[in-house]
Symmetry: C2
Subunit: 265 residues, 2 copies
DNA sequence: CCGACTTTGTGATTCAGATCACATTCATGT
DNA sequence: ACATGAATGTGATCTGAATCACAAAGTCGG
């Protein structure tokens, strides 16, 4: 029943890449600048999110069906339309989840942070993946095959509930994005919302809130539903108005109130 | 622990209304033209969706914590921002779930059909309702308080899994709408998507697919993120192009392929 | 059958932002 | 340090659809 998918999965991921340099034939290796975290048990994030407070037995059981892998930037964990093979528990790195239209336009649904579980909705419902998951920062993830995962859930009511909560969270996030895309009057408003979102979860230091902009303008455009040029323009208008300071990939929030005002216009 | 919320809840719902006629002081009554379905056990939809295949004991347990009510058109089941009081299992009627921006713009996230469970994400995660639920057709629903529901889930692993599946489904739907709103180039495209969505679940008779348009143009606009006038115009352009026939509130699909072509433009 | 409101239909106007077309600056690998 | 491709910055143009402003149909209660 529980064939170990890990190797096959690992290879597969490294095959499909976005654009640019080709990686097809390269062997898997540790992502640049990251030491490998061996077992999922030592993964710093696993415990405190989806699978916290599990009995040691359950943890062991989970460890058995889990297989860790590393993925380089550009790797694809799964592709929209493909049927759900299982879930990926993201331990380190960052993954972009998006959908594409026939003509190539892309809409980024969300960015996943360590601790999140990818492919959960599809795995649980048995439907095909509704999004494509592409690694934007070298990442490590634990894979659990759909079969194993579902069995684990069935044996483990508390975890099922926890999974439901995660899904609720995810839904919440999706709605938030729908709101920015659907209810905004202007690109400025969307951008303001985006910046506030990005900085919302950041801890401030010395009274200043900063955020790393992992995304290109192109990608920001794909998140808020505008064009790349508009992102560039709006962002520089924000700088002129002293709402934010952009230095390299670091964005510093200067006038939160000002941005919030734009949000409500 | 399990105080019965039903009466309080019932009264509350009837209080807040959208617009128009005032119902505040009126006593609760059966929705026009619907006989009341007494117990949730006889509710025709309950069994086959979320809570199918339960042991008789579980069904009984569920029946105990459930309270049925009827809601007239315009009633509000819950309001965005309010913290989750519990779930509503929709037995009959139709409910509109939407979010509103400060300036009054509305985005309809989805229309709920009988058998669906409303308020699930919030109840499970313990976060406030992220949407407002307004009855558009006289409805009947079974309410289960958050406490009771969560306890029920904890005692009942299989149901928790089922809940997770529902949530996955809901997420899926949300993504579908995000796609139409975010990836479309034109209002025509959005409208084509919308019409196809509406007719997708309908059974065809005599080789023709029809769908009841419960929504006003205004509401359609709020679903696909355009203006009312644009909906009117696009819809009549569809009629001119013989893609659909609209007669009263009945929409007949005439040229599915044609609409699909618009979808991919 | 008659007002009164809600919904739909249409024209005229206007403008935000998509798109195109480059110039410039930044990374990166060798 | 150079070269090459990616990412950003900026102007010019053009159009889809929002908005405004009514007219025409429907709908419903009394």
């Amino acid at each position: 029943m529980s064939e170990n998918h890990s190797a096959q999965v690992g290879r597969f991921h490294l095959v499909s890449r976005g654009k640019g340099h080709t990686l097809e034939s390269q062997p898997m290796r540790a992502p640049y600048g990251l030491e490998i975290i061996e077992s999922c048990l030592t993964c710093p994030h696993r415990e405190d999110r989806l699978f916290c407070n599990l009995s040691p037995a359950s943890v062991q059981r989970l460890a058995n069906i889990t297989s860790a892998s590393s993925y380089p930037k550009g790797a694809t964990l799964f592709v929209e339309g493909q049927d759900g093979r299982g879930v990926f528990i993201l331990c380190a790195g960052r993954v972009k989840l998006y959908t594409t239209s026939i003509d190539g336009k892309t809409l980024i649904a969300r960015l996943s942070e360590p601790g999140e579980v990818l492919g959960l909705p599809s795995t649980v419902t048995g439907m095909p993946y509704e999004l494509t998951a592409e690694v934007v920062e070298p990442s490590q993830a634990n894979f659990v095959s759909a079969n194993d995962f579902l069995n684990f859930l069935r044996e483990n009511g508390e975890v099922a509930l926890r999974v439901a909560q995660q899904l609720g969270q995810t839904y919440h996030t999706a709605l938030a994005e729908m709101r920015t895309i659907g209810l905004s009057h202007s690109a400025e408003e969307k951008m303001a919302r985006f910046v506030l979102d990005m900085t919302a979860n950041q801890k401030e230091e010395k009274g200043v809130v900063k955020a790393k902009l992992t995304l290109t303008h192109e990608e920001i455009a794909q998140m808020i539903g505008t064009s790349r040029e508009t992102v560039t323009r709006v962002l520089s208008s924000f700088r002129k108005k002293n709402l934010v300071i952009v230095k390299g990939s670091t964005l510093t929030l200067k006038d939160k109130a000002g941005l919030e005002r734009l949000t409500q216009s």
